[in-house]
Symmetry: C2
Subunit: 142 residues, 2 copies
């Protein structure tokens, strides 16, 4: 259900922040769901052998988490008409129950034609930006 | 395609032996396919914390491998009308590309009514029996 309308938002409107925990178990599930079984996402021996600090999250999984902040705000996943990110740093997932913390903040960055807005996302883990130029275009109801 | 007929077999007929390699990657895939995400099947920290020597294979995965020796022999998975095993020891899967070796041998143990035969399976890994009382009932064409 859409809860935000085009008349409610302005440049600078902030979306509710969300903090996600990403565990190794999430990555094993995402491997099966996505078909991406690259062992850098579940095996630290392989990950460190190829120069990574540890197991890292699938980039598309992080991208999907960030999108949830937008879809939770607008209430309707179908309202997202465009979504792009660059993967700037990996989300490093330690081998414990807490996993990695991924914090997603969103701000309305521009008002576009036809009741569309651009949401600019800031996605961090361990104090570093893990996505850059993360932007969603959302069509809001009147 | 069924390649064995009821007139070809006797008590003591041996099925072609198969040796399977079971890797951690197989278990991550099987977790997704089966929905069994228990970390003892993909995380050695958790596995050793609960007293296991290392990551172990899903029992049902081992059971499925053993069944392949029967279905490869008879040529038709639908010919297997009953299949039972007991899980006697875990298949321990080291963190390397070779993984665990699972050897499956089968012998016709009994001729039953209606062109059915009982196949007795011997399934070993690391020199130990990992399944016991592993028996498949197969209906053979005339």
């Amino acid at each position: 259900m859409t809860t935000i309308s085009a008349t409610d938002v302005a440049v600078g409107t902030e979306l509710p922040e969300q903090v996600f925990s990403v565990t190794r178990a999430d990555l094993v599930r995402y491997a099966g769901a996505s078909g991406d079984f690259n062992p850098i996402h579940w095996n630290e021996r392989v990950a460190t052998d190829v120069g990574l600090p540890d197991v890292i999250a699938h980039g598309m999984f992080t991208m999907a988490l960030a999108a949830r902040v937008v879809t939770a705000w607008v209430g309707d996943p179908g309202a997202v008409v465009d979504y792009q990110v660059r993967f700037s740093r990996p989300v490093v997932v330690p081998d414990d129950d807490a996993g990695a913390e991924v914090t997603v903040r969103g701000t309305v960055g521009a008002l576009l034609e036809d009741d569309r807005v651009r949401v600019d996302l800031t996605v961090t883990s361990g104090g570093e930006k893990v996505l850059s130029l993360a932007r969603a275009t959302v069509r809001l109801p009147r």
